[in-house]
């Protein structure tokens, strides 16, 4: 009993609150990355290994545009559009010929892309990290800490992008096309939906979401050529835990995992806190391989 009381006394509640906010902020970014990934998987059966590299290149393009124009918001838009075009090009060149082959070949192809893109970034931008200033420097008081508004803004913007995308899927004409292709691609084709075009479009949208999250996150971490790998790994975990192809499940899983990691890093180093999300993954695979946040399959 005594040790239990001592344990509770040792929990720093103010820090936990701060870590909760932090966890939600990174969780929303992670959700934005993972929703692109889960979208591409759900519709095309493609596990996009290059997703982290699109995230990283998005951040780099953000750096370039900010250096040229000084506007963060312009950078966000330009970077998303550029990476969307890049994504469409990649899909047309490397993935379209693989439609109808074993889905495992698409993993290999996207893995090849990620190699090329990552080394391109290393070659062009060098190994030193770049920094972007936060567009909003105002802070507010959270207990004894001053907490930057920008972090909250990231969470809100990510939520807005995901929400907007969800509405588009639900009500937009092309959103209906995308959902129809997910459900039954042969029938969708029979109804006159240009399925190959939908594939390309979906890949472009997913890429744009990755780029947007890259630019949004860049002020917090700096921009470097291997930043994609960390994110893509965690996004994979999120996508599996949330249920492949399940948008809202990914959002829930992203926040869940980021919160756990944020709490864990109160006690262990952040490098080791990653193990917590690995453990969540293992438990998920053992208990519910279809994902924690999906209804039980009948």
């Amino acid at each position: 009993m005594h040790t239990l009381a001592a344990f509770f006394a040792s929990i720093p509640f103010d820090q936990i609150l701060i870590q909760t906010v932090n966890g939600i902020v990174t969780g929303m970014i992670l959700a934005l990355v993972a929703s692109g990934l889960t979208l591409i998987f759900g519709i095309m059966d493609v596990v996009n290994f290059a997703h982290g590299e699109l995230f990283m290149l998005g951040a780099y393009i953000g750096v370039i545009v900010i250096a040229a124009t000084g506007s963060f918001w312009l950078a966000l838009v330009v970077s998303s559009l550029t990476i969307a075009i890049l994504g469409a090009a990649l899909q047309i060149v490397a993935l379209r010929p693989l439609i109808g082959r074993d889905p495992l070949t698409t993993i290999l192809a996207t893995f090849g892309m990620s190699l090329v893109l990552q080394n391109f970034a290393l070659w062009q931008f060098g190994p030193t990290a770049r920094r972007i200033g936060e567009p909003i420097t105002a802070n507010f008081q959270l207990f004894y800490l001053t907490y930057p508004w920008y972090r909250l803004l990231i969470a809100v913007l990510s939520a807005a992008i995901i929400g907007g995308f969800w509405l588009f899927l639900k009500y937009g004409k092309y959103g209906v096309w995308i959902r129809a292709t997910t459900q039954d691609r042969v029938m969708a084709q029979a109804m006159g939906i240009p399925v190959p075009l939908v594939y390309t479009g979906v890949f472009a949208i997913g890429a744009a979401m990755a780029a947007a999250s890259g630019v949004l996150f860049a002020p917090l971490s700096g921009v470097y050529h291997t930043m994609g790998l960390d994110w893509v790994l965690r996004a994979f975990i999120v996508v599996v835990v949330g249920g492949m192809g399940n948008l809202l499940g990914s959002v829930a899983a992203a926040i869940f995992i980021s919160l756990l990691e944020a709490y864990a890093s109160l006690w262990v180093s952040p490098a080791q806190a990653v193990i917590v999300s690995f453990v969540v993954l293992i438990v998920t695979l053992l208990v519910r391989p279809t994902g924690l946040f999906v209804p039980t399959p009948k």
């Binding site: 290999l108 190699l115 090329v116 790994l233 994979f236 599996v240």
Partner: protein, 333 residues
């Protein structure tokens, strides 16, 4: 009296060698070349060839999963790395360092990792298997990277090469030449074992899982148990490759366990041709030679992975069977 028409060509009795004979003759020729190679090659290329063999062994071990069982593993770096760290641990803690003990420890380390990975990830198929093996290898990477007291953390472990010993008979220092022969013997042995395994009833079941898992289960084979054994077997040979690589280079670094090693393994497989066992070795050689060529042509700073990645993607699209794909049936007969 009728003259025998001498100039009429006699129907020659064509002597067609059996497939087995051709296979073993080819095997002997390749072996002869590899045995003689270190005698004629300069030091740099000798080491280069030895490393190709070790990478080839790693890729060959993963071919048992990719090519024969139909499971793409993106986590072979874990087995490879734990093989190297196991060997390093044995060499640092035994006096005098013993080669065989190091290899045994490497195999033990890899087997432990493989048991863990196999138990969890064989519950899943296809893409999910690939992702979970990748994530498991990252778990081992994080552990090795942060557990500085034991693993040396970022710096890794440095040790000296053990002597080549056979109890009571031989005790000699490795030269780059004898090291090559030792590695060659190990790789050849592994190839013969793996070839035997893939042709055994067990290997047939694995191939049947690749072709149609549901049907294999319906016939009554305990599919998951077969998969677990396949992953463990594959992990053991990857661990052997790791131990050999550690002994060859005299260090074990966290980079061995990092994702890039697994990625290279998959690239070697795809380039050389999956499902052939020798293909991955050819793939490793092809990859390393191209890389060396690019480095010599354009300098060390050249981002060689850009052209290699493009070649890799092109091969997936246009040559999915790999370099040795044309001989796949023949090699497996």
């Amino acid at each position: 009296m009728t003259a025998t028409p001498i100039d009429k060509p006699m129907p020659l009795k064509t002597t067609k060698l059996s497939h087995t004979a051709v296979f073993w003759i080819g095997f002997a020729v390749v072996m002869a070349v590899l045995v003689v190679a270190p005698l004629v090659l300069p030091e740099f290329w000798r080491r280069f060839l030895t490393e190709i063999l070790i990478w080839g062994l790693l890729a060959m071990s993963s071919d048992l999963l990719i090519g024969y069982t139909g499971m793409v593993s993106f986590g072979h770096s874990a087995f490879f790395g734990l093989g190297a760290y196991g060997a390093a641990g044995a060499l640092l803690n035994s006096n005098p360092p013993n080669l065989w003990l190091a290899i045994l420890a490497g195999l033990g380390g890899a087997a432990g990792a493989a048991l863990f990975v196999a138990y969890f990830s064989t519950r899943l198929r296809d893409i999910y298997f690939a992702i979970t093996t990748l994530i498991f290898s990252q778990i081992f990477y994080v552990i090795i990277f942060t557990w500085t007291n034991v693993t040396g953390g970022e710096n890794g472990l440095i040790f000296s090469r053990p002597h080549f010993t056979i109890p009571f008979l031989v005790d000699m220092r490795f030269t780059s030449m004898t090291m090559h022969w030792f590695v060659l013997a190990m790789v050849t042995g592994s190839y013969l074992i793996l070839r035997r395994v893939t042709q055994s009833p067990f290997g047939m079941v694995l191939q049947s899982i690749r072709e149609n898992e549901a049907r294999t289960r319906a016939i009554g084979y305990p599919v998951q148990r077969y998969k677990i054994v396949a992953v463990m077997l594959s992990g053991l040979f990857a661990g052997l490759a790791g131990a050999l690589y550690g002994i060859q280079n005299q260090f074990a670094a966290p980079d061995f366990v990092f994702f890039v090693t697994s990625g290279d393994t998959v690239i070697f497989n795809v380039m050389g041709g999956i499902g052939t066992l020798v293909g991955p070795i050819v793939g490793a050689g092809f990859f390393q030679l191209l890389r060396e060529l690019l480095a010599r042509l354009f300098g060390d700073q050249f981002p060689y992975l850009i052209p290699l990645g493009l070649i890799f993607i092109a091969m997936i699209i246009f040559l999915p069977q790999g370099l040795l794909g044309f001989a796949r049936r023949w090699l497996n007969r």
